[in-house]
Amino acid sequence: MHWSIIIYCGLITFLTRFSMIFLMNKDVFNEKIKKILSFVPAAIFPAIIFPPIFLDNTGSLNMENNPKIFAAIFAIIVGYFSKNIIATIFAGLISYWFLIFIHFQ
């Protein structure tokens, strides 16, 4: 990786933060746009979450005896009830370790 790509990424990130503060006085975004922008995390994060869970190293679908699917479901359940970010991550990680080191051995 080149430092140049990191600097460009830093620049674009800065611009997403700076542009609106610099350009707007207020309420340039209407309610509809604000509502849609509030969906951005829900629209992007699953695209990062899903492929490494459901696809194997060759990129083909792996639904059978896939410990990541079980661990992710367990993490979702813990997240749903606890509403705690750290508890969710560790629930997923510990159940994953349990499955790969103990159950599937």
């Binding site: 990424c9 503060i21 992007i44 696809l55 969710t88």
Partner: protein
């Protein structure tokens, strides 16, 4: 002078509880950076130059998958596009500041700092020095993020590969969505994004699956929003 210091301290105190999940997130990021072999300087460099946890992990993931610079750049931009909203919301309170202030505050306007300073600004609209709150909150986030990145870099050179820590990428982002699990509309948007990304992972060229999935899901979100507004 004391009021400035008071407001700055207020910002630090307000944002502190939100730093608890940031520490392990930063450590995970540092470990992944080392795991993918970009080395300690670049791993820390990303934290300083980009200073956006989610986008840094996306960058690493796409880079290790062999994505092109253009795809990496647009994906990072897409992940961080939520800041447009933050800026638009806060601009109302920051419009009278000098350019230097706007630049400094933009650099540290991350999710957690936005969340607490937005609340503070709403309550203290008339305060002349209210921007010190965002400065305090933002630089607290910055400091904690850099320290936990370094911790991750140190740990990353020790942690064995068998632990499958790359799975924590999925888990971390999943955890960031827990507040969306109870909203049916958000679940539809999430499933759209996840399914398009999984199906498109091989089918969509140039590793552009994140962008394509995100745009598809945002179109669904827009449709939901429009039909919702019509009902009212």
């Amino acid at each position: 002078m004391t009021t400035r210091l008071n407001i700055l301290t207020r910002g630090i105190i307000d944002v502190s509880p939100l730093m608890i999940p940031v520490v392990p997130f930063g450590i995970i990021y540092g470990v992944i950076g080392m795991d993918l072999g970009i080395g300690p300087y670049m791993t820390l460099g990303l934290s300083v130059i980009i200073f956006g946890g989610a986008s840094q992990i996306v960058l690493l993931q796409l880079f290790s998958g062999g994505a092109s610079s253009l795809v990496i750049l647009s994906s990072v931009g897409a992940v961080n596009s939520r800041h447009l909203l933050y800026g638009a919301v806060l601009s109302e309170y920051l419009s009278s500041l000098k350019l230097t202030w706007k630049i400094i505050l933009s650099y540290v306007m991350v999710d957690q700092a936005f969340a607490v300073s937005n609340i503070y600004f709403k309550k203290n609209k008339s305060s002349e020095n209210k921007h010190y709150h965002l400065l305090g909150a933002g630089f607290t986030c910055w400091t904690i993020w850099q320290i936990s990145t370094i911790l991750g870099i140190v740990l990353g050179s020790i942690v064995p590969e068998e632990l499958g820590l790359s799975f924590t990428i999925s888990l971390t982002f999943l955890a960031l969505l827990i507040s969306d699990f109870r909203k049916f509309k958000n679940i539809i948007v999430m499933l759209t994004s996840g399914l398009v990304a999984t199906i498109g992972f091989n089918a969509i060229p140039f590793k552009a699956y994140i962008i394509v999935a995100a745009l598809s899901a945002l179109i669904v979100a827009a449709l939901i929003t429009v039909t919702d507004l019509k009902k009212k």
